[in-house]
Symmetry: C2
Subunit: 243 residues, 2 copies
C-alpha cells in the first residue's frame, strides 16, 4: 500500500489533503479514486485512507481509520556512528532505517577523517533526514528515524549511556560478546556505538567504559565501519524477537 | 597482521615466496625483515611467517607455524541471491565476505531485471571473485568465499536445499520467523535465499517450498534486495554464537 508522510496535525480531521511532493508522488504511482493508502505522521501514528479525488497538484484522502503504525519495532535501537568518510553515513542511514533503527546519531572521534564544519553540517543533516524519510517510506515504516549530529565524543557517550543497553563495539575486545550483553537482563532501549574507518582509540574505549558503556565484540572478523552498525542492528532486532 | 593469499601448495615448504600483486602489496605496506605476516591458502589453512627478505618484486617469508585459520565461522552459510541490478551484487559480495559467508551464489529468477549472458558473466565472475578476495583479506579471513552463478532458479533451489537449514525470505510470509526456523534443531550448514528488486513470484515461493526450503520473514519492514541477505546473515551468525 502506498504511504505518504504528512504533518502530524493533518491526521486529526476526516480528510487529508496531499500537495507538493506528496501529490507528485501520487501522480507517479497513478493513484485513482477508491484506492487505499496510508498517511503517516512519521512519529508512529497513521491513517488508513481511501483516495477520494485526484486533480493536478492535489489529492484528497478520506480517513477510514486512525491507528498506531504497525511496522515499528518494540525495541528502540539508536545507532551511534563516528563520522565516516564520503557517502558511508548515507548508506548507514538508509540501511539502518530499513532495519528499524529508532534514530541515527553521528559524532566526531579521534581518528575521524571526516569532520564536517557547522555550515556544511546543516546542509548534510537536511540531506541525511531526507534519506531517512525516503527509506522509511520504501520500507513501510511509520516512524522516520531522526538523524542527529553531536559535537563531541563525550556528548555521544553521555547520550548513548542512557539506554537500557549501551554497547560499544571494539575489534580488540574478545571476551564479551553481543549475546552476553543482551542476555544479561531485559531492555527496551539500546545504543550501539561504533568507530570510524581507523577504529576507536584505546583511550576512547576506556572513556566509554567509564561512561557506563559495555564493550563487546562482533566476532573475529574485522568489519568495515559501515558494516559493523548494520550487523549489530540486525542481530539486536533478531535477539529482540523481531524476526 | 598483514595477510597474503597464496596457492595452497605454497604452504607446504619452509619458505614462501611472494611475487606479483602480493609483492606489490608488501611494498605498499612497507614490510620489513623480521615482521610477522600470515600467508593463507584461501581455503582455511594459513602459515604464520616472518619476513626474511624484501627485494624488488619479491618477498621471502620463513614459515613459523602451519595452522587452521582462526577467523572462520563454525557454521557454513551460503548466500543465494537472485541477480540484482548494477553494483548491488558487488556490495553484497563484499559485505557477506566480511560477515563470514561461506559462499555467494547468484541465479536468475522471474522478476530479475539483470540477466547477464554467458560472455559477460565470465568477466563478472572474475571481478566478483576479486572483490571477495579483497574483502577476505581486509576482514582477516582465511577462506575466500567462492562466488558462483547458476543457470536457473530451479538449479538454485536444488543446490540450496541440501543445507541443514535451507531458508527463503519472503515479504508475504508473516507466521514463520527466522528464529523459529533456526531453533528447530541444530545446523552446520545454512542456505539463505532472497529475491531480486521486484521480489519473488508467488509460484516461485511455492516451488521453493516443494523443493524443501522453509519460507521465513525478516520482520514487518520491507528490506531492499541488497539489505535482506546481509540482515539474515548477521542474524544467523549471532544465533550460531559467533558474537
Amino acid at each position: 500500500m502506498a504511504r505518504f508522510f504528512v504533518a502530524p496535525e493533518e491526521l486529526n480531521g476526516p480528510q487529508i489533503l496531499l500537495t507538493g511532493e506528496n501529490a507528485q508522488h501520487a501522480r507517479v504511482l497513478r493513484l485513482k479514486a477508491g484506492e487505499e493508502v496510508l498517511a503517516c505522521d512519521g512519529q508512529g501514528m497513521e491513517c488508513l485512507c481511501t483516495v477520494e479525488s485526484v486533480s493536478a497538484g492535489e489529492v484528497i484522502l478520506g480517513v477510514l481509520e486512525r491507528r498506531s503504525s504497525r511496522n515499528e519495532a518494540a525495541v528502540k535501537v539508536s545507532i551511534y556512528m563516528a563520522f565516516p568518510k564520503a557517502d558511508k553515513l548515507e548508506h548507514v542511514i538508509q540501511k539502518a532505517t530499513e532495519l528499524g533503527a529508532y534514530e541515527i546519531v553521528a559524532f566526531p572521534s579521534g581518528r575521524c577523517i571526516s569532520r564536517p564544519d557547522d555550515k556544511s553540517l546543516k546542509k548534510k543533516l537536511e540531506r541525511w533526514q531526507k534519506i531517512a524519510a525516503s527509506a522509511a517510506e520504501q520500507s513501510g515504516r511509520g516512524v522516520i528515524p531522526e538523524v542527529i549530529a553531536l559535537p563531541s565524543f563525550t556528548a555521544a557517550l553521555e547520550r548513548a549511556g542512557k539506554a537500557d543497553k549501551a554497547l560499544m563495539f571494539y575489534e580488540n575486545e574478545h571476551a564479551t560478546t553481543l549475546r552476553m550483553a543482551l542476555e544479561s537482563g531485559s531492555f527496551e532501549t539500546v545504543s550501539l556505538l561504533t568507530g570510524p574507518e581507523g577504529g576507536l582509540e584505546e583511550k576512547e574505549v576506556e572513556q566509554a567504559r567509564n561512561a557506563g558503556l559495555q564493550v563487546c565484540t562482533l566476532g573475529s572478523r574485522i568489519l568495515r565501519c559501515e558494516t559493523a552498525p548494520l550487523c549489530a542492528l540486525s542481530a539486536v532486532m533478531y535477539a529482540a524477537g523481531e524476526f
